[in-house]
Symmetry: C2
Subunit: 552 residues, 2 copies
């Protein structure tokens, strides 16, 4: 029954979003889901609807808008995660049922250590719960996936039993997670082969692999499982996820594509979209990709980018096993300049795969002209940064109207900030800080007045040359954090918020990124900050360092 | 004859340094070599001495200073790379012979594609060259390693023949490289097993594995080779290297350590040093480690770092297969404050593994007090950033004496810079740029007058809170780049220079990082810039954007 098609199940929006700080807004999640659909993934795990009403709504929107394409193409399956209880399963169904092809994914741990310390359940209780909950899910939805959590450390004989019960109860896909990234490729392949051989009823189901990278073996383990007969791989873009992350979509897909004779397996992925989706997810989550990351790192195809590239290689394949074009890395870098018109911009965007509304194109063209005044050549990377900065920002609560900064080795870095609040009022504040960014953030805090802790701050130049756009990603957490339920540890975890900004001035980009994170935090907290902000206009109060600040 | 000890051959300073921009100064290389010796690596591949006189000298210094410890401990083997020709081998020997335990590592490609397109040699010619050059190396040095380049794509039968000849000629270690990261774990394990079975004389030699991560499989391939009988692994810290990089030391070592029953193999690595060496290499090379990197990523042990950590896990091992302490991640974060004295600082440094000279401790204490005035608590990460910024800087050509910057949304970001040149003269310049960093760099350029292209620019906060130190790493390349010979492609490649700076003001840190890269470039170019710099003092000329600048 094993066909030669490997289904790509992307869990960037669920397991990937569980990485510290990877929290995305509903709008960002929707955009990522659209990109995943264009990429050709078979199943999108859109979230964990029971975590919070916001999470449910985000999954529902994706089910409605990405799970029902109006262009006649076959939509991806939209999947929601649920622990093995009625409430979770009902909420998952409430969210995904709007998709043309919905799936409920439920799980229960089967390793001794998890059953004993986390679940406090006996083997018998686990078997009964699985039977009951998979049956309940199946009563709602024809497509049900079941995962025995921590399968990598479970007793194989017990696994066969639990999986057999899940199949009897109606599961159609059985996912085998190496939850803690503990197994070695041979072990994991043997586990999958054993399951295929010993589980009653397995021939009618799809086996799936779900690996973690704690020992750097996630891709090898997933491939070993696929070789042993698994036909679904659970992956994330850039391999993001808790701890060392999940199997990277791009590594599994490109391994299968680069070694066709070894695998004789195909996927539905349009590999030329890989580079763009990687960048999108990195921007939205604020999780950087290291230069030496396989397939999507900045140096992965370094031989191509070098100034002395011609003549450097006597034959392409001497040191290259994939062509950069295959994964959508644009080889020609210079695209547009100061004199390029709106039409040229639009044509370039379309060829890059962006289909924008007229109003969006107008906005972007304005930014493009401003940038072209400062910078001789505008590259695809510049355009992507502008798109992220301009179009995919959260609903604006506070808007940056002006910023003025003085800093240097003489001390007393000072920032003056003017913001417009949600009611249209202007606020001005000045502050001193330990540096220009600290001063700016303290001035913003003095207006917004919702204390938070800055957890991460990264700036990088988009292209070569320091006159390039600087991209800033930040991650903050409220001092009184809103909590979100973690599906696996079953504990409420503090929510963190990422923000993104791009500008040729990195202090301005830092202000934008921070404000975008703060705005997300305010939306999530369901408040616009203390009411008095709207009532009074505060101008000119100087905030001194040493005051009780949310930072640090 | 196979023992159960896996030799760790670290090539961070050779293959790792070939990553774009990873160029280190001799002082930095020496510091990394010292750290590798403390880490317990068995062999340090210190460089490619034939690349340039500077490279030879750097390897020689490491051979002298790290290859001959004065404390009675067994020193690591110091190894130099050489192509299979007399000149390279003689230069490698000239550099490594000063070590107590020297090694020459020579290589020649054996795959059809390399022999045909790169070497333009027949199989017979390759065999004869190997015989001759390995014998020559062995006439100089008792410890000779030979690598058949691109072994992963070579005809196994031909490999057995070439390796047999190398053994006859005196090779003691045979390294099997998957040069282009093409093989799958099963394939690579089979290749190693085949070599062990079919190569005449192999039982007296050590087999080594050298894998690349183009498909994300470097660690799995190395482990498959080790399982098949290899007893040396060639690795780099953080997995840096050309394209997607090499096998990561930390992943191989921690896989062996975490799954002892699967491997029954040991290494000589003190795993508690891993985190510190990872940070050192990241700082010196400017190559960031992504948060979801196995073992050394910021999130690898995220469960530990969370604010709500207590109660989050019902049992440590539920979601954790390694303890963070095992790899030297400090669990207690707060260490020192404003009132800590010199003694407390010194004690903390010693416990972190730093043994500084008195004068260095004095310098560091000064910086520590200045930082403690701005920031409530000083963490280990802060101290490491200060050490990198203060102690391991290149020989100073131009020194930053003052910087003043104004920027914001109003436009015309302006920087005034005061530098002291190598002859002690002060120079002042002001410049306008597209942002504060661009303006600063243009002002520095106006003084130094050696045009260059900024290739990479990254800032990140050292610890939580934006009042934290900001670390900046940059990478530049001269417009007229000095070239360095690449051992494998045999082509001169442009040299790039990394710089590092840390300050609470990211614009100041950016200036320091840029100046440190510029100083490295000047040293490498063997010049201090145009002579007239020394003769005249230029003050106050405003440099306008749009002038012919080296940037972008």
């Amino acid at each position: 029954m094993r066909d030669n098609y490997v289904r790509i199940f992307d869990t960037t929006l669920r397991d990937g979003e569980q990485s510290p700080g990877a929290t995305m807004t509903s709008a960002e999640k929707l955009e990522v889901a659209r990109a995943l659909a264009r990429l050709g993934v078979d199943i999108i795990e859109a979230g964990f609807p029971a975590a919070s009403p916001d999470d449910l709504e985000a999954v529902r929107r994706i089910a409605v808008e990405v799970g029902n394409p109006d262009d006649g193409t076959r939509p991806p399956v939209i999947c929601g995660l649920a622990r093995a209880n009625r409430n979770d399963i009902d909420k998952a169904w409430a969210a995904v049922q709007h998709a043309a092809r919905p799936r409920i994914h439920t799980f229960l741990a089967t390793s001794e250590i998890h059953m004993q310390h986390k679940l406090k359940m006996t083997r018998l209780q686990v078997v009964e719960r699985v039977r009951e909950m998979v049956a309940h899910a199946r009563s709602l939805c024809a497509d049900v996936e079941f995962s025995p959590e921590d399968a990598g450390r479970s007793d194989p004989e017990f696994l066969y039993e639990v999986l057999g019960v899940a199949i009897q109860a109606g599961a159609t896909t059985l996912n085998i997670p190496d939850t803690v990234g503990y197994t070695l490729p041979d072990e994991f392949g043997t586990l999958i082969a054993g399951i295929l051989q010993n589980t009653p009823g397995i021939e009618a189901c799809i086996i799936s692999v779900h690996c973690h990278d704690d020992l750097g073996l996630a891709t090898a383990n997933a491939l070993a499982g696929i070789r042993a007969g698994a036909r679904q791989a659970e992956v994330t873009i850039n391999g993001i996820g808790e701890r060392a992350g999940n199997t990277a979509l791009e590594e599994v897909v490109m391994s299968l594509a680069t070694r066709p004779n070894q695998f004789e397996l195909t996927t539905g992925i349009d590999t030329t979209q890989i580079s763009r989706v990687s960048k999108l997810v990195s921007n939205y989550t604020g999780i950087v990709v290291q230069p030496n990351k396989a397939v999507v790192g900045a140096n992965a195809f370094a031989h191509e980018a070098g100034i002395h590239q011609d003549g450097m290689l006597k034959h392409n394949q001497t040191y290259e096993i994939m062509r950069p074009e295959t994964v959508g890395v644009s080889v020609s870098k210079l695209v547009l300049g100061k004199h390029s018109g709106r039409h040229a911009l639009k044509a370039r965007l379309v060829s890059m795969g962006y289909f924008l509304e007229e109003a969006e194109t107008d906005k972007l063209f304005e930014r493009f002209k401003a940038l072209a005044d400062k910078k001789k050549t505008i590259t695809d990377a510049d355009l992507e940064a502008l798109i992220s900065d301009e179009l995919y920002q959260p609903r604006e609560m506070f808007a940056l109207e002006g910023l003025q900064v003085a800093c240097g080795t003489m001390g007393m870095p000072t920032a003056s900030v003017r913001l417009r609040d949600p009611w249209g009022k202007q606020h001005v504040q000045a502050s001193i800080g330990t540096g220009p960014v600290d001063a700016t953030y303290k001035a913003i805090d003095a207006i917004v007045q919702v204390p938070n802790v800055l957890q991460e701050f990264v700036v990088h130049a988009v292209t070569e040359g320091i006159d390039a756009l600087g991209e800033v990603t930040v991650r903050i957490q409220a001092e009184q954090p809103s909590l979100v339920l973690d599906a696996q540890s079953e504990v409420d975890q503090p929510r963190t918020f990422g923000g993104y900004g791009a500008d040729t001035d990195i202090v301005v980009a830092s202000a934008k990124a921070y404000l975008s994170a703060v705005n997300k935090m305010l939306v999530a907290m369901g408040q616009y900050g203390p009411v008095e902000i709207a009532a009074t206009e505060t101008v000119g109060r100087v905030s001194l360092p040493g005051r009780s600040s949310g930072h640090g």
